[in-house]
Amino acid sequence: MEQWLSLLDSTIRVATPLVLAALAGMFSERSGVVDIGLEGKMLVAAFASGAAAFVTHSPWLGLLAGVMAAVSMAMVHAFVSVTYNGNQLISGMAINTIASGITPVLALAWFQQGGNTPQLDDDSRFHDITLPFADALSNVPVIGQLYSKLLSGHSVLVYLTIIIIPLVSWVVYRSRFGLRLRAVGENPHAADTAGVSVARVRYIALFWGGVLCGMAGTFLSVYQTGSFIKEMTAGKGFLALAALIFGKWRPLPAVSGCLLFAFADALQIRLEGVDLPVIGQIPSQAIQVIPYVLTVLLLAGFVGRAVAPKAIGVPFVKSR
């Protein structure tokens, strides 16, 4: 039980930035804009929030800076691919390249710590929160334990994410914006003749994508490690994209995809250095590769045909 709880507990921690990024990607891709720049937006946000939290000693101002940084990158992407009908893959790639180039350069120039930001002190970081009655309930079997060990003791960003998941799903399926979002990604010409501004919907979608990426990046630097580290996103943006495809561009299945990847990741950490019966010690390289192998397997075989939004990647040009 204890072991399982702690495994699930780390699953939640690993999953949080993935979930945020996947939902961000869902907004942009559902609107018809390919978003391979999730990685870059997260990285920029991680840097901006780490730096701002260090300077201002406030994790919240860090979050604000992270969100603003990611949103501005998202707006560049929107400007290129919506306003100027540019190639969305190239624009996304450019965001990733710029992000991985500019963050260590600025970090070096401002903090002289080898491209990282200085370690945050306790006041400038997000901390784990103990939910009310967690201690009292910790002896109640199952429910109490689940509550105190699994649900309690996470950062506020985790709780925000837990609220955001149903909210996003609700927005996509139950709100006017959601309907327009889905229409614009599926058949922008239909949306346009029905009186919906395609460009506006895409801008808004990318904006909210930026906000979520900003939160994901902040989670990494201002909560998890307590500083920005060069290339700290390490492919999480792409993993989130894979989860999104795994979930066929639907919010809840995409979130389950993230949880699956996160679980594999948590398991991997746990398995490292452990002696298993018969096999003995598994080489750590073999273990580290688990989440990625899982990704390939899932995307190749188990998902079935993933039907992307039909208009994805195609700039909307009004013509016949």
Binding site: S175, H189, S319
Partner: protein, 508 residues
């Protein structure tokens, strides 16, 4: 004094070198059905797109209900009570009917309330105009006829008083077209105004109150339908006498070019699409396949053109079974090389690459032709020369070989495909809906070309939902129903009634 719903005055529109509309003036009476006819490329669709705010006119003015207005985009048109059913439907396939209808007019930030109201309203409209559309059906799963009604509903839901339909019957079966006309009449009774673009003079005579005839971007006539007949309209449209009959001499057919034996095609779900077909097409004859669309005709053409593998059977061409041929190239390419040309039913999806210029489309599938390419390189001169030849012969407008095919009017796109396939001088021509969306002048020309081809000893298999076309061209008529051939009639003895019975699946 009559009240006018729409008054257009001096509308002009130019696309580059093409003057699509020139000083167009027309008045459309309230509560009437107003037809617009004209040759391919006459500017009908452009004019209506201007009225719907999709394009901006270069000059001229628009009045709606007597008020001068500027329509800068579709939203403004909708607000003025103008709705349009486009030539290509503007629907989201993955949405339900209801979702498609409320899109853009959701009535609030949340969907729930708006959807509920829309559902009630929709059921009301359904009843008023007997549209028979299920609000919860997925649009992508509906047939074209129903999708079109969804488009009409969309416009009505937005409070359209003026409904523009651009060649609505081009994609419909005759039954669906009849239903559509009932709907349009009901609309007129309720005081709505309908603008109908069509190439079918029969429809104009049947249903419109007044007609505007366009030619080369200008209006050449405004007439009351009651005061004209088909011949007069055809004259006005083309500017010369058009014969609506095909002159065709008796001719004895030669040896069989195509012979189909026990051909079957079953889809993934086990449904029999083609069910034990046996027939021949001989040199020098046109065999017409009549039938309500969706009874296996499209699949038959696809099998014969090598695009789809049949489940079993033989397709013999010049006495060799094509299905046994081995080749490294795709089947369709092989067939083409052997002299089987194919004009697909859906020209825009299967016959053309819309983003390519006309001269590249003019050789699609024939790119290995020695006269245009040498050692894998095209001779641009030869390409352009051939395309100009097509343009001249088929009167494709505008006469610019470099123009992107997607920018041509619907009928002119069709001419490009036809020109290409007929030019190949095939032994066997498979042709689906040859005159869909084509004006009567061009129909006359295309029919003549097909008969010429037949007289030159070629075999032609013609699929068409237009009974008149089948009757006019064919030497023999096969009727398909439910994937089977339900009967064969010699053209001389055929009439609409007996064919109709066979199309309904009554076997001979």
């Amino acid at each position: 004094m009559t009240d006018f719903a729409i008054e257009l005055a001096g509308i002009s529109k130019r696309f580059g070198a093409v003057q699509a509309n020139r000083d167009v003036t027309m008045h459309i009476a309230k509560g009437s059905i107003h037809g617009i006819i004209g040759e391919n490329g006459a500017g009908k669709s452009t004019l209506m797109s201007i009225l719907y705010g999709y394009y901006q006119a270069d000059g001229g003015s628009i009045r709606v209900n007597g008020q001068e207005v500027r329509i800068r985009n579709s939203q403004e048109a909708i607000r003025l009570g103008i709705g349009m059913v486009h030539q290509h439907f503007m629907l989201v396939d993955t949405f339900t009917v209801l979702e498609n209808i409320v899109l853009g007019a959701e009535g609030g930030l949340l969907l729930k309330q708006g959807m509920e109201q829309a559902r009630a309203h929709l059921l009301q409209l359904n009843r008023d105009y007997s549209l028979e559309v299920d609000p919860d059906a997925l649009v992508g799963e509906l047939g074209v006829g129903l999708q079109q009604r969804v488009e009409i509903l969309k416009a009505l839901y937005r409070g359209a008083d003026v409904l523009i339909l651009d060649e609505p019957t081009a994609v419909l079966t005759p039954q669906e077209a009849d239903h559509l006309f009932c709907i349009l009449r009901a609309l007129r009774e309720q005081g709505k105004t309908v603008i109908l673009i069509t190439h079918k003079l029969r429809e104009v005579m049947d249903i419109t109150d007044a007609v505007t005839v366009m030619r080369a971007g200008t209006v050449v006539g405004n007439v009351r339908t009651a005061e004209v007949d088909k011949e007069k309209l055809a004259d006005l449209m083309v500017g010369r006498k058009v014969s609506l009959k095909v002159d065709k001499a008796e001719r004895l057919p030669g040896a069989a070019v195509l012979e189909v034996r026990d051909l079957n095609l079953t889809d993934a779900r086990g449904v029999k699409l083609l069910d034990g077909l046996n027939f021949q097409v001989r040199a020098g004859e046109i065999v017409g396949i009549a039938g309500v669309s969706g009874n296996g005709q499209s699949e038959l053409l696809e099998v014969l053109a090598g695009m789809v593998e049949p489940s079993s059977g033989e397709v013999r061409y010049h006495d060799q079974d094509l299905l046994l041929e081995k080749s490294s190239q795709p089947r369709a390419a092989l067939y083409r090389q052997k002299g089987i040309a194919h004009v697909p039913e859906d020209r825009s999806r299967e016959g053309l690459v819309k983003s390519f210029p006309m001269f590249e489309n003019a050789i699609l599938g024939y790119h290995n032709d020695k006269t245009i390419s040498r050692r894998g390189l095209f001779s641009r001169q030869a390409l352009l020369a051939r395309t100009r030849d097509f343009i001249r012969q088929f009167d494709i407008r505008p006469d610019n070989a470099q123009l992107r095919v997607g920018l041509l009017s619907g009928g002119n796109q069709q001419k490009v495909v036809l020109a290409r396939e007929i030019h190949a001088n095939p032994d066997l021509l498979l042709i689906g809906q040859p005159t869909r969306g084509v004006d009567i002048g061009a129909i006359e020309f295309i029919h003549r070309r097909l008969v010429e081809l037949r007289d030159a000893g070629k075999a032609i298999l013609l699929v068409s939902v237009e009974l008149e076309e089948i009757l006019a061209l064919s030497d023999r008529i096969l009727v398909m129903a439910g994937g089977q051939i339900s009967g064969e009639v010699a053209a001389k003895e055929a009439d609409t009634l007996s064919l109709g019975l066979l199309m309904g699946g009554h076997k001979q």
